[in-house]
Amino acid sequence: MLQIDLWKRILIALTCALGIWLALPNAFYAPVEQHNDAVAEIELSGSTAELEAQKALWPEWMPSSLVNLGLDLRGGAHLLAEVKVEDVYANRMEAQWPEVRDALRSLTPVRRQQSPADELRVRLNDETKMAEAMEIVRANARPVQTLTGAGATDIDVRGEDGVIIITLSEAEKQATNERTMQQSLEIIRRRIDEVGTREPTIQRQGADRILIQVPGIGSAAELKAIIGTTAQLSFNPVVSRGSDGNANPGIGNKVIPSVDEPGAFYVVESAPVVTGDQLVDAQPAYDSNGRPAVNFRFDTSGARKFGDYTAANIGAPFAIVLDDEVISAPTIQSHIPGGSGIITGNFTLEESTNLAILLRAGALPAGLDFLEERTVGPELGQDSIDAGKVATVVAFVAVLFFMFVSYGLFGVFANIALMINVAMIFGLLSLVGATLTLPGIAGIVLTVGMAVDANVLIFERIREELKTAKGPARAISLGYEKALSAIIDANITTLITAVILFAIGSGPVRGFAITLGFGIITSVFTAIFVTRLMVVIWFERARPKTIEV
């Protein structure tokens, strides 16, 4: 009964070796990390002697995947943001208005009416032409560009007492939301890349949320300064300047506050002359008085519009608007051809640098609400790693000792298996690129405690079988056989909870679920294959007449 085929032996040994091999880089964390960074850097921007030296810190033929350290261990910031997708509807309606006005011009004069932000209401001077007008507006509608929304058009048009009401259709809203999310993800990614931190996680969660995790950043506030600003830049004609924020701006205009002059408000035309979308570059600079400012350059169409407008409006003020606040409102001194200019205001150097980054990376299509933010300082992370290490080592040694005094030689077998077990957990974690969190360390410690369970079940069973005096070979074989169902049942139930935790949990909890789940798989493997192999090999060599377990 105590036989294991040669191919099975080789397979078991190879599996263990592979686990240890994959886990190995984690024992040399710092050099391997430098090696990986250097490799990535060389790929990106070419080789230098310094980078090659860093790359040589770890041999090329060794595995180089590491267990990622979670934010609670490495320090960094975590943000959960909700994208206000409805923001975009209003912009879309704003853009509809000139189109509708121009389309209906030949039919009848029209006026725009007050409406909720996601609606456009247009009154016809000649109400009898309602049907015709609606026909024209409908003809303006474009097909929705999605697979699911095939056949639908982007706007719904209905008429009410001589007023045409235009809203986005449901299919278009869906498509718009999807686009807004994609753009937001892209812009956030670009902005974080501009700052140049390592391994940020930027993930979409659910319909309208984005999870952002950036290791190594000092605080969530810093991160929010970069991604929380919409950075929608526009140049709008100024209608008037006043001190009443609630003044009636008139239709097609809006009242917005000034950043630098408290209590001052500008009435500007809602439709901008040029927007930040048309920027091709922005750089921090200094104005003629040596104060921080931002230089910008428009693309060809932006440059033309900007040039035409400045040529036609010399002497008139225009407003540089960032996220619905007027940064400055200079008077146009001369025609500005070429499409480059400078934004001045009361900036600090840091603010102007940030603004340049934001303008370069592009504007977010919609605002963000932050639902959750967590910052862990690197010191606390390091403290947690240190404490976790000490606790793991102590727990490990205690369990090893206890197993040895309880089961003697068999305890040694179990202990070797336990060490292989922990190595395999790290190997698996590295292989899938999992993240190790503080609860994850607790998961490993718990696994160390529980991993011996399968062995204990087997050894206790062997002891029992020995009492009925069937001879050692038979007792060992029966012990493994009969303990199996308890081991499988007990571990599958724990595995079920680990899977549920993984599916539902997030962040640190998920990290815990992963280590717990891997721990269960490796501990069952080591107990029913590895220790068994060791026991069998020992038994074949020693051929003992009696055994003590």
């Binding site: 959960l80 909700e82 605080s219 506030a221 609400d369 932050f370 639902l371 959750e372 933010e373 967590r374 910052t375 862990v376 300082g377 010191e379 606390l380 947690s384 240190d386 404490a387 606790a391 102590v394 727990a395 205690a398 369990v399 206890f402 197993m403 005094v405 089961y407 003697g408 609860p439 360390i441 607790a442 410690v445 718990l446 160390v448 405690g449 529980m450 011996v452 369970d453 204990v456 079940l457 206790e460 002891r463 009969k482 199996l484 169902s485 308890a486 049942d489 007990a490 139930t493 724990t494 079920i496 909870t497 549920i500 935790l501 539902i504 949990g505 962040g507 640190p508 909890v509 003590e548």
Partner: protein, 322 residues
């Protein structure tokens, strides 16, 4: 010479007063639940929204002084606690400041955090903020929901698994034991007012897994012995099975406990609550697999006729290890 708890298989009579034990367990559940209802849990910000700031300063923490600085900001309910841990250095004085979610705000506001940090810097110029966490009320509501779903799903999944592998009486016993463990754990968190956050839910689910592990090992032996001793009384078989698995139960609980205690003492204050929940769970889980799960099994009785296939025993797993 081996270290051995029992040289011979022990022969305790666990079911002499099983009804009393079942009564005690029920009573403890009632007490725990009452504590939960009356006193309530000390929810962390994960579940009720708000902000926690962990501050570290080389100078001693003076809670009154800190409070004075922050109270001026009028932010509502604020709690400040000093944290002690053997692993702290001498110049490491840690305090946790917790601010409730501000009324009518769905999202997290940076202003509040900035204001508090600024106020504390006035009092302790070289104070550091080693961790700042904020959860808006919108997310915390969802987190409670998912936590409850997670625990319910885990218990449900286990119920089905044991039902398939054993009989419904076993499943009922195991699940009642789980409910017992979960309620007692919530009870002790409510009684001692230990902070209850997302990590504790992970601990609760681990307890569910661990306690079950224990129960399943006993039940597995019960199933085996029921087949072996067809004529013996159920009570006797249960007793025998528990005694036979006693050595293993102690070994495993003991190794797990020493590992957890190492973590509790040395693992730092950040995960202490989490580890406490698990230690408690191991103790309660070991108790409940004998005095709740097995006692329920005794109360419900088991159909002994394993040989004839019928609706209950006829599933594909029932005889897998025969």
């Amino acid at each position: 010479m081996r270290l051995r708890l029992f040289n011979e298989a022990p022969n305790f009579d666990f079911f002499k007063r099983w009804k009393i034990w079942l009564g005690i367990s029920a009573l403890m559940m009632v007490v725990a639940f009452a504590s939960f209802l009356i006193q309530g849990l000390n929810y962390g910000i994960d579940f009720r929204g708000g902000t926690t700031i962990r501050s570290e300063s080389p100078l001693a923490v003076d809670i009154a002084e800190y409070r004075g600085a922050i109270d001026a900001l009028e932010l509502g309910d604020i709690s400040i606690t000093e944290v002690f841990d053997p692993s702290f250095r001498d110049d490491q004085n840690v305090a946790m400041i917790r601010i409730q979610a501000q009324d009518g705000q769905e999202a997290v506001t940076t202003d509040v955090i900035d204001a508090i940090e600024g106020a504390l810097k006035e009092v302790r110029p070289n104070i550091k903020f080693t961790s700042v966490e904020s959860v808006g009320p919108k997310v915390s509501g969802e987190l409670i929901q998912t936590a409850v779903i997670a625990v319910a799903l885990a218990i449900g999944a286990v119920l089905i698994y044991i039902w398939l592998r054993f009989e419904w009486q076993f499943a009922a016993g195991a699940v009642l034991a789980l409910v017992h463990d979960v309620i007692l754990t919530i009870g002790i968190f409510s009684e001692l007012q230990i902070r209850f956050d997302l990590a504790i839910i992970a601990a609760l689910l681990t307890i569910v897994g661990y306690s079950l592990n224990d129960t399943v090992v006993v039940f597995d032996r019960v199933r085996e012995n029921l087949r072996k001793y067809k004529k013996r009384d159920l009570k006797e078989v249960l007793n025998l099975s528990i005694n036979e698995t006693m050595a293993r139960t102690f070994m495993t609980s003991f190794t797990t406990l020493i590992a957890l205690i190492a973590l509790f003492v040395l693992g730092g204050d950040v995960i202490r609550g989490f580890v406490f929940a698990m230690i408690w769970g191991v103790i309660v889980g070991t108790y409940s697999s004998i005095f709740v799960a097995s006692a329920i099994l005794l109360y419900l009785g088991v159909k002994r006729d394993w040989s004839k296939p019928d609706a209950n025993a006829g599933n594909q797993y029932a005889n897998i290890d025969a």
